[in-house]
Each structure stands twice: as C-alpha cells, then as structure tokens.
Amino acid sequence: MAAISQGTGSKFFFEGESGRNTRGLLRLIILVTIAAAAVASRLFSVIRFESIIHEFDPWFNFRATKYLVNNGFYNFWDWFDDRTWHPLGRVTGGTLYPGLMVTSGIIYHVLRLLSMPIDIRNICVLLAPAFSGLTAFATYLLTSEMTTSPSAGLLAAAFMGITPGYISRSVAGSYDNEAIAIFLLVFTFYLWIKAVKEGSIMWAGFCALFYGYMVSAWGGYVFITNLLPLHAFVLICMGRFSPRLYVSYTTWYALGTLASMQVPFVGFLPVRSSDHMAALGVFGLLQLVGFTEWVRTQLPSKQFQTLLRGLVLVVFAAAFGFLVLLTVSGTIAPWSGRFYSLWDTAYAKVHIPIIASVSEHQPTAWPAFFFDLNMLIWLFPAGVYMCFRTLKDEHVFIVIYSVLASYFAGVMVRLMLTLTPIVCVAAAMALSNILDIFLVAEQPVEGAQPQANGNPRANGPTTATEKLASAIPDTLRSTKTPVVGIYSYLSKSAMTGAFTAYLLLFVLHCTWVTSNAYSSPSVVLASRLPDGSQHIIDDYREAYYWLRQNTHQTAKVMSWWDYGYQIGGMADRPTLVDNNTWNNTHIATVGKAMSSREEVSYPIMRQHEVDYVLIVFGGLLGYSGDDINKFLWMVRIAEGIWPDEVKERDFFTARGEYRVDEEATPTMKNSLMYKMSYYNYNALFPAGQAQDRVRGAKLPAQGPELSTLEEAFTSENWIIRIYKVKDLDNLGRSHQEAGAFEKGNKRKKSGKRRGARVLRVD
C-alpha cells in the first residue's frame, strides 16, 4: 500500500501541472539557498575581524554615503568637498558614480521607515554580500535564457555565488562600486537577451533602465556600451538582421543614452567621447540596414539589392571618416588613456604612470585565472563551444562576451571581474549538459536516442549524425545506423562521480580562497604568532585616530595618494591627494615634495599649507606595501611633470640598483621620503646594526637628519609615521641654520667671506 501511495504521490508531485509547481518551488528554494550561501561565504571578514569598511576606495564611498544620509540628496548632488585635494577641492557630486551611495541611502531610509533603524555603516558593510545574492539570481535568469536545461541556470547561480573571482570584490566591507555593478551588469545582459529574443519594447526599455542604473554605479558601464552594439553588429554581419533586433537595439540605445546622460559625471560623454561612438555608429547602421530591408521588400530586384549593399558600405565608410574627422578636430574626445592601456599593456607605464602604478591595473598572471575560477576555467571553453553548436542570437552574445572579456581579463587584473559572470554561465551550460547526459538512469532506446538521452537540445548532434550517416557510404555496419548514448552504468557513475568530486573540490577551493585571500580588510593586518594564534596589527587605525584626536580639524595631511581616502574617512582630515587621482599635476607635486631635498620640499609644503606628512614604512615589520617600495612611482609621476628637477635615474646606483643602504645614491639619501622613513630608525637597534626587513638591507650607521619636519607620531609597529611641518624660523634663518644653532654650532662668520663685498641697499 505504502509503495502504491508513494508511487501516486511522486506521480502527483513530479508530473503534470502540480509537478511543474513543485519544480518551481524547488527551484525557488534552491535559489534562496544559493543566495544564502553566497552571502554567508562573504562574511568571513566580519567574523574574523569586525564590521569594518575595507581597503581604500570603499572608505570614500562610505564617507560619501554618510554625507548623503546626513545632508540629503540634493546637497549630495551639489557637494563641493573642501576636505580633499587641498586647496583645489573636488566637485565630488559631479565626479562620482552615485549609484552605490544612493542605493545604500535608499535602503537606509526604507529600513528606517519600517522602524528598523540600522547604522549606515552596517548597511554599507553588508551591501555587497546582499547584492551577490541578487547577482546569483540574475545569473540564473541569464543562463536560463541560453539553454532549456533547467539545471544550467541553477548551476550558474551557484557558481556565481561562490566563485572567488567575484568574491574578491564583494566580501562584506568591500563597499565599492563593483558591489552592485556586477549584479547590474548581469541583469542588464539578461534583459538585453530577453529583448532581442522577444523583440519587445518593454524588455528593451527595462534593459535601458538598468543600463542607466549601471551607468550611475560604475565606470565599467562602457563595457556594456560597447558589447551590446558589437552583438548587434555581429548579428547584422551574420545576416541575422531582424525587426526584433531593430526594435530592441533602437529602444535600448535611445532610452539608455538619455538615462546615462542624467548622471552628471557622464553628462555629454555618450555623444562626445570615442568610447561611446560604437553604440552610435551601430545605431546609425541599424537604421540603414532597416531601410535597405524595407526597400528590398518593395523592390525585389537583385541588382538593386547589391547596389544598396554597396550604398550601405559607402555610407558606413563615410560615417566612419566623418567620425575620424570629428575626433581629429577635437569635437569628439579621443580614446581615453585607460582605453589605450587595454590594447597596449606597456602604454600606461610610458605615458600615464599614474594608471600603471595601481597594482590592479597590471596584466594578470596566469595562475590567477585558476586561482579565481578554479575548474570553471576549463569548463568555460566547452560551454562556449556548445554555444557554437546551436548558434542562436543569444549564443552569439555569449561568444562575443567570452572572447572580449577573456582578453580584457588577461590585460588587467581588475577586469577578471567582468569575465567571471560569463565563465559561470558557459561553464554551467557545459556542466549541466554533461550531467543531463550522464545522470539519466534509463538506457537510451535504440532508434529514439534523441528523446532518450535526456538532452532536449540534442537536435544538433542528431542532424549531424544523420549528415554523417548520409555522407559515409554504407560499407560499415557501425556507420549504417550510428547509435549515440551512454549505456554503461560504469561510465555514468564514473563521470558523475568525477564531477561530483570536482564540484566538491571547487567549493573547497572557493571557501579556502575566500577565507585566506579575499577576507582581509587591509586596514587591519593579521599575522600569526609562533603558537598559531592570530595577532592583529592595527597601526593604520592607531595612526588615523591619533590624527583625529590630536590635530586641528583643518590640519592638512600630505601623504601619497593611496592613503587619501582612508585619511579622509578614518582621520577626517583634509588631504592633498587621494585615490580619485583626477589631477595628475597635483599628485606629481606631492611626488616632487616626497622625492626632493628638504630645501625644495619645504616651500612646496608651505605653499600647500601642509601641516602633517604621513608615510607608511614597513621596514621594521617586513610589510612590503610601504612607501619606499612605491617610491619609484612617485619619482616617475613627478618626473612626468618636472623632468628637469626629478630624475628617476638619480635614484638608482651606478649599477642600476635601487638601494636604501650605505650605497644608496645621494639623491635617494637626501630625498624627503628616505629621510622620513629612516629618521630615528637607528635608535631601535644596537649601533650600526639597523636593518630594513623589507628590502633586507643594512642601513648606514648614521641616520638621516630632518630640519624642516619634526616627528609627531610613530605607530606601534612603525608602519605609519607622521611628521609635523615646522613653521618658518622666527628669526628668518633657514631651518638648517636654526637647527645647527640649537645644537650649539656657531654660524660661520659671513664677514670672512671671500669675493666682493655685498652691500646692503635700503
């Protein structure tokens, strides 16, 4: 009885109308579970450390969000920030992508409306994990558009949820634009595919809407701006122009461009900059092609058609030439430097050192692909190959996306992020195909393989086998009626077993990478003591809070730009330069002050009203990300503006070595950065044994002397050192003279000077 009822029960649940409902419910539960897993795996940093904003850029976003929440949207829109880029200030409201802050602000206010007052910091910290759950869902939707296999979408969602390539930018506390942008990217692509498939204005309208949101959230929107036109262009070239494409593209372009122009930072770029011209060109091309198609329906003459095709080519060439003309004449901004550095990896290093100096703009190392994507990276080509087999419009999109994103990810570490979604989608398609074939318990019935092998999309291979069968003469029995399918349980279980193992390993790898590589806030450093316990090195916050509590509210802090956002966020003090890097000259000025002699640096610091100088020094602890290691970038950037005053060559020894020890060049030893780094460092060691643990160098017995600065603060592990800029000498002497006098050295009598007497003229 029980068996019978079970049978009917399972029949009730798994077949027919209610069966579909059950599957829908299950799918929902699975998706929710995936989202929960995605959120959970991003919480390592909060559990290990605390609920804190990470790294550099998030500190600015956090500060901007606080400003938004405190001052309201319009003040945020018109925000002039007088606490950065002193004394230039920054038109912050018009030079940021407000999407992230506005999103958090809305969440904050909605929660308050629901009488759940949550600290804005916690919202900011947890925003990225929350959106990663949505990203998983968007990936599910996108994948489901690509294949009819129901499992592919779920697999893709699961991959997207935990793959380290995405986690690297979305752990709790990593409050950066990418946190919401990846969700928007995937969702916009989903809506685009939907629009192209249906040819619906509504979907294209939604696509434009989310594209607008994406533009407001991340500069990477240019990727979409170029990918969608490319998709449309390739489709046209393949002869796949259709009213669906026309409707969706024109709707998206018109509405999307208008939406993107609402963001002040973007403004008129969509019609002025070369980066956006492809979209405009394809828009024009679509009109031409549409017109041609229409004419063709009216005039079925073949000759006329070729004439028209020729006309299209001419118009295209003319439009392109016009574009080039406009670019040359300056009406359209030429390609931005960042764009060039995508094609020529050495470009940035030569022309725009400020971009090259950022570690995440370096080309990707090969192991990084495996590190970030694990098994997906080898499933990915299989998935792309499968797209080629059934090359519908949406599969063309996958192919283009994979090719472009693979290239970009190879050029720039940071762009691994845009590659990750497509890798997840393609890999999920490949894997679901494998599982769909190998997980079926029944043996394929001969003559009805297409239905039995459990792969609904097997039409391709079937027709292929038929073709094969027709092509090969009937000489061999095996080729007469080729049988395709998996019969042996051994191979089925071997394959499924192997892939289950791979999947388990994947989860293990993802968790390991997340926990070890991507969950460090970088504001707080963790190290292991000999007994295995964790030791927190909290020098950054120690120093920033020292600044906050011991200096005047308007004391200007000069530091290398990497720390600008953190000083602004944690210490709440005005800075000269920060991670926004909008003004290369200003950064070069700071670079010059750091890399010059004191006599040169001091007037610069006076002019910019600098009160404190903050540097990062890792020599004591062996912390390699310190300013001496970044120093050459400061020199290079300063050299870009003052090639006569700062020369990179002078910082290398005659043998071309970058040294800090006894044999360091005089320029190096006299530079402000060197002096600040090693000032008083000798005192920590027995005489003559001072050791720099980062560069493994033995320092000169005589430490450097500072006359225009005085040491104000050095953190526990000497990672942060803060110096106060002295005022001008009261008696009008130079600081060196004043310092010598303090020490009791007599000044040289100017009366005994040689040469002609200098007369005083009143």
Binding site: W77, F80, L731, G732, L759
Partner: protein, 474 residues
C-alpha cells in the same frame, strides 16, 4: 595672535600704568651696581613711562628669564658687560628663546669693552655682523664732536635718522644732533627683511682698531654701510634693537653740548635724551604696534547687498565658511595702532596701502583696502570684490610687513564652491537656446501630428482582407 591677546590685556592695565602695549616688566642687566648711577636720567624716564625695572647682574644665580616656561619679563636691556661673557642665564640660545616667545631685547654695545663672543654669535644669527676686532671703533673725521674727541674723532655727531623710502614711518626723528661716542659699527646682512638700520654712519665714517698699529688695510666697513643702531623685528614681532654706543644713554651725553668741526658751527645740546627715549619706546612696544580687531566678510548680494551702508539688514550672515564662484563679497578689517597711551585708528603712511589677497596657491585678487570708517580706536579697512571663477579653498589674506611696524598677518580660510545644479539660468532665459527648445517642441508636435495622421488615414479595409493580411503576417 598671542601678541594681540597680550596687547589687549596689557592695554587694559596700561591705562593706569605702563605705556607699552605689551607689558611693563623690564629687566636690566648690568654688571656693577656703580654703573647704575651713570644712567639715572634714563632710568627715571623709563619709570615715569610705567616700567617696573629690575636690575640684575649677569652673575646673579637666581637670574632667570623664564618662569614656568614663560618669559618672566616683557623686556630686556643688556648693558655691555665687563667680563668675557654674560653667564649661564643669558646664553644665546636662551635669548633666542626669549625672543621667540615674544619678548623684546635692547642690546647696548660699547667699543670701550670688548664684545663677548656669545653676543656676536647671537647677532650673527640675526644676520648682524660685528667687526672681528673686538676693539674696533667707528671714527669719522668730518662729523665728530670737537669738544670731547678732538683728536680721536670717535664721538660721532649725527643728524636725525632719515629713511630713503618715503612710506617708512620715522619713529626716531629728533631735531638735534645725536652723539654716538665710542660706537661699535654693525653690518647688516643683505637679504634679511627683518632687519632695518635706524641710524647709519655718515658716508665718511669707517671702522678702525685703535690698538692696531700701522696702515689701515681691509677695513671692516665704511660709510653708510655701517649701522650704528639696528632694529630687528622677528616674525612674531618681538623686537631686538642693537645700540652701537651704550654711552649714548648715559646722563653725561644727555646733557652734553657738542660742536661739529668746521668753521661757523656752534655748540649745541645733544638730542640723545629724546633719541634714546624714542628708541627704547620703539623697542619696548610703545610705538609702531599694530592690532587687528574684528575681521568680517560676508556675501554682498541679494538681501545683504550693501549691508555696510544700510541699517535695515536684520540678520547679517557674517563670516560664512562657504561662498560660490562669482559671488560678490564684502571684506573688512579693523586695524588700530598703539600710540604711547592708547589705541588709535591706524592710517597707512602716505604712498602705502594695506592690501588684501584672495589666494589659492597664488593670489587671484590683490586689492588695496580702503579706509571706510573710523571709531576713535580703530580704522576699518574694506574691500568689495567679485570672487574669481575658480572653485577651491581660498584665503582672505592680509599681510602688512613694514619696517618698524609689528607684523600683520591675518588669514581667513573660506571654501568657494561651484554652481549648484539649480543655480544655473534656466534654458528659457537663455535666448541662444531658443532654436534647440524650438527643435524639441517641433519634434514632439511633428510626432504627435504624424501619429494622428497615421491613425486617421488608416485605410478602412474589408474584414476578410484584414484577416488575410494578418494571416499573411504570421
């Protein structure tokens, strides 16, 4: 800043006692008690002016310029010591600290006693050079007192100080000759803007060591390059005066009558008393002290336009921290000058102006401030101008550094922001935008008309045709 508060406090006290804007405590360093009587006229004059004088020997063990880290005296007068140095309480470093904390020093030298090396080292820090020979004296064979130094020619007779720049205010003018006996010549460093010579030697003077025999070679300094009285004003306005001849302060020379060489010159009384009085008054902050009162700046447009001339502005928004580019701004600063007994309105010397800079890295505006009103204590200088078309963090910066006046350096930092999104003129206000606005509306109207026309002119088809066409479409 510190000076201002000090000045304010002592100014209140000064109504009853001192004439100095800074403080009345004066310490005089002299080695022997017997010396004191030589200067009795000077002491009584100082006492009359409200100074509380303490006499100390450099050898005193309890002599200290500082009390709890703060200067114990406002003013210090050092008479030339007989011994080789000034002792452990008056080392150059302590004296520099004393000046750095805002106190004033009047240092008197004499060629009768060799100058201690500590003092010449200290003066070297101020960029004042003394002759290498300790016994050098300034002589002049044309401007000497025939009565007292007919042979040695080392008592110089000098006319009242004059300054080449007309806008330099002369605090030291006397109408009689000044006698400078046995003076030590000083040479001032060229580049230092903090130094000024009060009394130059005549062009015929030169330094000379009477103990050295033989021909004169390599003269230390000659002519007007020799400064007999030099004034140094530190960046914090503390004053340090070097008087080349201590004897000029003695009673003997206050009352002496002198006679210049040459025929037809009459014997006359010296102007020493008045000159020394003025010199000490300047050094001890009775003269040439400027004080900045209230500084105000406000938006000079909209409801506040011309607020300085109106009375109907109820709530004036003074000293805002933020302006917008191209705002009209009003700036005013009150400046007073201490004149022996009270604060009086300060007026710039003829040909000189108080200037306001509106600067970010470099000045965007440099304007002459105009005196607009005066209230018996101070003059209000104002300027009205339009902010530059550049956003950033700017300073209203008034810097007035003139010889013999204390320094005025006042900085007010304001932010100048860009136009907010709703502060631009609307498109319909700009006539140049009419074609574009017209274009938009024409497009809209055209589209609506087209749709209407399209719908209106749709051909009424028979039913089966419609079906057939729709089927065909499928």
């Amino acid at each position: 800043m510190q000076l201002r508060i000090l000045g304010l406090l002592t100014g209140l006290l000064g109504l009853v006692s001192a004439l100095s804007a800074q403080g009345s405590k004066l310490v005089v360093i002299l080695e022997e008690e017997s010396e004191k009587s030589k200067y009795s006229q000077f002491w009584s004059d100082l006492q009359d002016r409200g100074f509380q004088i303490t006499y100390r020997s450099p050898k005193d063990t309890d002599l200290s310029l500082f009390l709890h880290g703060e200067p114990a005296y406002s003013h210090l007068l050092i008479l030339p010591p007989k011994s080789k140095g000034l002792g452990p309480q008056l080392t150059p470093n302590l004296l520099v600290d004393f000046v750095n904390q805002g106190s004033n020093i009047l240092l008197a030298l004499s060629s009768e006693q060799p100058v201690p090396s500590a003092i010449s080292g200290l003066l070297q820090e101020l960029d004042i050079t003394l002759p290498a020979d300790r016994n050098s004296v300034v002589v002049d064979h044309f401007n000497y007192d025939t009565k007292s130094a007919d042979e040695k020619h080392d008592v110089l007779l000098l006319p009242s100080p004059k300054f080449s720049k007309s806008e330099t205010k002369n605090f030291f003018s006397v109408d009689k000759l000044i006698a400078m006996p046995h003076a030590v010549g000083q040479v001032l460093g060229n580049p230092s803007p903090l130094l000024a010579s009060v009394l130059n030697a005549p062009s015929t003077a030169y330094t000379y060591n009477p103990k050295e025999e033989g021909e004169l070679e390599d003269v230390f300094a000659t002519g007007s390059q020799i400064s007999l009285v030099s004034a140094f004003q530190a960046r914090n306005s503390a004053r340090f005066t070097v008087l080349g001849s201590a004897e000029a302060m003695e009673d003997k020379w206050f009352d002496a009558s002198v006679q210049s060489p040459g025929a037809g010159k009459k014997s006359e009384k010296t102007g020493n008393k008045e000159f020394i009085r003025k010199l000490s008054a300047w050094t001890f902050m009775e003269l040439g002290v400027l004080r900045v009162g209230e500084i105000r700046h406000y938006l000079n447009e909209g409801a506040q336009k011309g607020a300085s001339n109106r009375t109907d502005v109820e709530k004036l928004d003074i000293d805002p921290t933020i302006y917008r580019i191209k705002n009209d701004v009003h700036y005013s600063v009150e400046v007073s000058e201490w004149s022996n007994t009270a604060w009086i309105p300060f007026t710039t010397p003829a040909g000189d102006d108080l200037q306001l800079e509106f600067s970010m890295l470099s000045p965007f505006h440099r304007l002459n401030l105009k005196p607009s009103s005066s209230n018996g204590v101070s003059t209000t200088y104002t300027a009205e101008f339009k902010l530059p078309d550049q956003h950033g963090i700017f300073n209203f910066f008034v810097e007035y550094r003139r010889p013999f006046y204390t320094n005025v350096e006042e900085k007010r930092t304001v932010t100048v922001r860009h136009f907010a999104h709703d502060e631009w003129p609307r498109s319909f206000v700009i006539s140049g935008a009419y074609p574009w606005i017209g274009g938009i509306w024409v497009t809209i109207a055209g589209w609506v008309a087209f749709v209407a026309l399209w719908l209106y002119s749709a051909p009424s088809q028979p039913k089966r045709d419609l079906k057939a066409s729709s089927a065909g479409k499928r």
